[in-house]
């Protein structure tokens, strides 16, 4: 996919596959193109070139089908502050085509999923940041989406609310089988939540691995020996294996010059790929 704004290329031959039913985390510095990508996938911005297939549907031909099975939770509080939580859910539910008993049952379910039952009749302008984020998610769940796009859904809230929201998202994925596309700046959130992680930088996917692969690499320590050789050791292995490694080194009359501990946690990967220069 290619997307240009005037003379700058925002998405540059982007090629990406997201596994159905997964929680996909999209990381990237400011201006990398994360929100543009999410906007294109939700028909808010047209792409310039390329092909997008969502659940087998071609985005150019099946807008209606794709919209009906996906939902966007934008970064901003996309609801009306002078309406109550229930009135907001009623309005958006109606836009999704829900009516009568089905609408009200669905609203109750969304309020329960996000623990907003006690705030249902409260005007949302009085909500805290965490409650507002939860209502944003509740609105996103109204159409029982197969794909839920969450664009930085934990910005500006306290750690307790963040933890609660992450658990809600995990719960949605596990109970409903919803594919989650999650963009964030917070590495620890992505590490905790996502099982498929990509880094977008300057409009390109520069890293895309499963969490299992990243974890596997992040447990290997390097031992530099006095004869200039190097041995790798898996820190996840059992105690006896580690003792054996050092015993063998001693048996060869070598000594350890340096041990390099694993740096392959997500933050190190991110910074090593995207470099440390400020982006805005």
């Amino acid at each position: 996919m290619i997307k240009k704004y005037k003379h700058s290329i925002v998405l540059d031959h982007l090629d990406l596959t997201i596994k159905e039913g997964s929680i996909f985390g999209l990381l990237g510095p400011n201006g990398a193109g994360k929100t543009t990508l999410v906007s294109i996938l939700n028909y808010l911005v047209p792409k310039d070139f390329g092909e997008v297939k969502i659940l087998g549907y071609d985005s150019d031909k099946n807008e209606k089908e794709i919209k009906s099975c996906s939902s966007l939770v934008p970064q901003s509080y996309a609801f009306y502050p002078t309406l109550s939580a229930y009135e907001n859910l009623e309005f958006f539910g109606a836009l999704y085509g829900l009516t009568g008993k089905v609408l009200h049952t669905k609203i109750d379910y969304c309020l329960e999923m996000t623990s907003l039952e006690t705030y249902r009749d409260t005007k949302t302008e009085t909500f805290s940041g965490g409650l507002k984020r939860r209502l944003n998610i509740a609105i996103g769940l109204l159409n029982s989406p197969k794909i839920l796009y969450l664009d930085e859904p934990t910005v500006g809230i306290d750690p307790q609310s963040r933890s609660y929201i992450l658990n809600v998202i995990k719960n949605i994925n596990q109970t409903e089988g919803t594919t989650i596309v999650y963009t964030s700046h917070y590495m620890e959130e992505i590490e905790y939540l996502c099982d498929d992680i990509a880094i977008l930088d300057q409009g390109k996917i520069v890293f895309h691995e499963t969490k299992e692969t990243i974890n596997a690499h992040s447990n290997i320590a390097k031992i530099y020996l006095s004869d200039t050789s190097m041995q790798e050791v898996n820190l996840q292995s059992n105690y006896d294996a580690l003792v054996d490694t050092f015993y063998n080194i001693k048996q060869k009359s070598l000594h350890v010059k340096e041990i390099e501990l694993p740096k392959n946690n997500l933050e190190n990967i991110f910074l090593s790929i995207t470099k440390k220069e400020l982006r805005d």
């Binding site: 906007s39 939700n42 028909y43 808010l44 911005v45 047209p46 209606k64 919209k67 009906s68 996906s70 939902s71 966007l72 934008p74 970064q75 901003s76 509080y77 996309a78 609801f79 009306y80 502050p81 002078t82 309406l83 009135e87 009623e90 309005f91 958006f92 539910g93 109606a94 836009l95 999704y96 085509g97 009516t99 609105i139 159409n143």
Partner: protein
């Protein structure tokens, strides 16, 4: 679906206190103030007379009788003083509007000869028309006095002198009913139109909030047609405009008379009144949508929309009736849609006109609506991409 779209928009309007004040309280207050303030002007009644200090060194029963005759009018109040006043003092400290000094021989020649002289002084804020009117009034009364004396000498009846009573005046309306134009008939449509155009305040606030909060993006990501979204906005504001019309007409008909003002009387067809209120509403909402799409913030919309509304109102004869404008300003006022709307309302309410009388202005208002609605859509599309 549409029920909840309308419900949402109505709740947003009804919970916006500032908007309700602008839409309902502001025009009510304006209608009350302007109807009562201009009541006498429209009815040609004068509660406050211009004061004239009439100074004469000599006095006589004939002069006193003449002053009594002068005081039978509706416009001036004459006070006779036998000393020569200091003119500045009389005008600026004793608050007389005019000082009239009579020649020494005035008393002797009164009623016998027109060969008398008098000097008239007035404050600088007295208009030329008022001076001219007083001069004409005095000359008429002097002539009348001479003729009266002549008739007395000849022994003829004096009722022949009531020239004022032999000339009657009646406003003629298109529906042939005879009635006078009242201030309330001008104030109600004027301030009603003004407040209808102020629908742009709640429209632009809602629209800009939706844009800034990302709500509009959320809505666009859902399978809902643009026409439903637009109609979901258009209908509630249209209903609010019609409520304004209904309420302001009630204010004119029932509230103003309670405050000793004239009651609003509608001479034309109610159907045509409803038609023109619908057309004005469509024009006001289209203009408001254009301002809302053009603005980046509520402040910008309020300044841009509020200022343009006030200019259109000033030009369109809302604040100053077009009849008192000079010819070139009356021509300029033709560019304001509020002027077209006001002409339509006045044609129906005051003149009892028919569709043919408002047809041209209705067309202009519909073209205005089409233009600004198209511009709003283009601007929305431009901003989206």
């Amino acid at each position: 679906m549409f029920y909840y779209i309308l419900k949402k928009e109505f709740l947003l309007i009804l919970r916006n206190l500032h908007a309700l004040i602008v839409l309902f309280v502001m025009p009510t207050v304006f209608i009350i103030i302007m109807s009562l303030a201009l009541q006498n002007t429209y009815a040609n009644k004068y509660d406050v007379k211009l004061s004239v200090l009439l100074s004469s060194e000599k006095t006589s029963p004939a002069l006193e009788s003449f002053v009594q005759t002068l005081n039978t009018n509706t416009f001036f109040e004459f006070t006779l003083a036998q000393i020569a006043p200091v003119v500045d003092e009389a005008l600026y400290h004793q608050k007389y509007d005019f000082v009239l000094t009579l020649s020494n021989d005035f008393t002797e020649k009164l009623g016998k000869s027109s060969d008398v002289s008098m000097a008239l002084f007035s404050r600088s804020d007295i208009s030329y028309q008022q001076v001219a009117f007083l001069k004409q009034f005095l000359s008429a009364k002097l002539s009348e006095n001479v003729i009266k004396n002549l008739l007395e000498v000849q022994g003829k009846a004096q009722n022949a002198l009531n020239f004022d009573e032999i000339i009657s005046h009646t406003y003629v309306l298109k529906d042939k009913n005879t009635t006078t134009v009242t201030s309330v008939q001008h104030s109600v449509p004027s301030w009603l139109i003004f407040s209808m155009f102020f629908i742009l305040i709640p429209i632009s606030n809602t629209f800009i909030n939706e844009k800034n909060f990302g709500t509009i993006d959320k809505i666009r990501s859902i399978n809902v047609s643009l026409s439903k979204i637009i109609m979901g906005k258009f209908i509630p504001y249209f209903v609010m405009n019609q409520l304004q019309v209904f309420c302001m007409i009630l204010v004119g008909m029932y509230l103003i008379p309670l405050l000793n003002g004239d009651a609003l009387v509608i001479h034309g067809s109610i159907f045509l009144l409803m038609l023109i209120s619908c057309v004005v509403s469509i024009a006001a909402i289209s203009f408001a949508l254009f301002i809302a799409t053009l603005s980046n913030s509520s402040e910008m919309a309020t300044i841009l929309g509020g200022t343009s509304n006030i200019i259109l109102a000033a030009l369109g004869g809302i604040m100053v009736p077009k009849v008192v404008m000079p010819k070139f300003m009356q021509d300029v006022s033709e560019v304001s849609p509020m002027s077209w709307a006001l002409d339509c309302f006045l044609d129906i309410i005051v003149k009892g006109g028919n569709f043919g009388d408002i047809e041209f202005n209705v067309m202009k208002l519909l073209l205005f609506s089409l233009l600004f609605f198209t511009l709003a859509c283009l601007m929305l599309n431009y901003r989206r991409n």
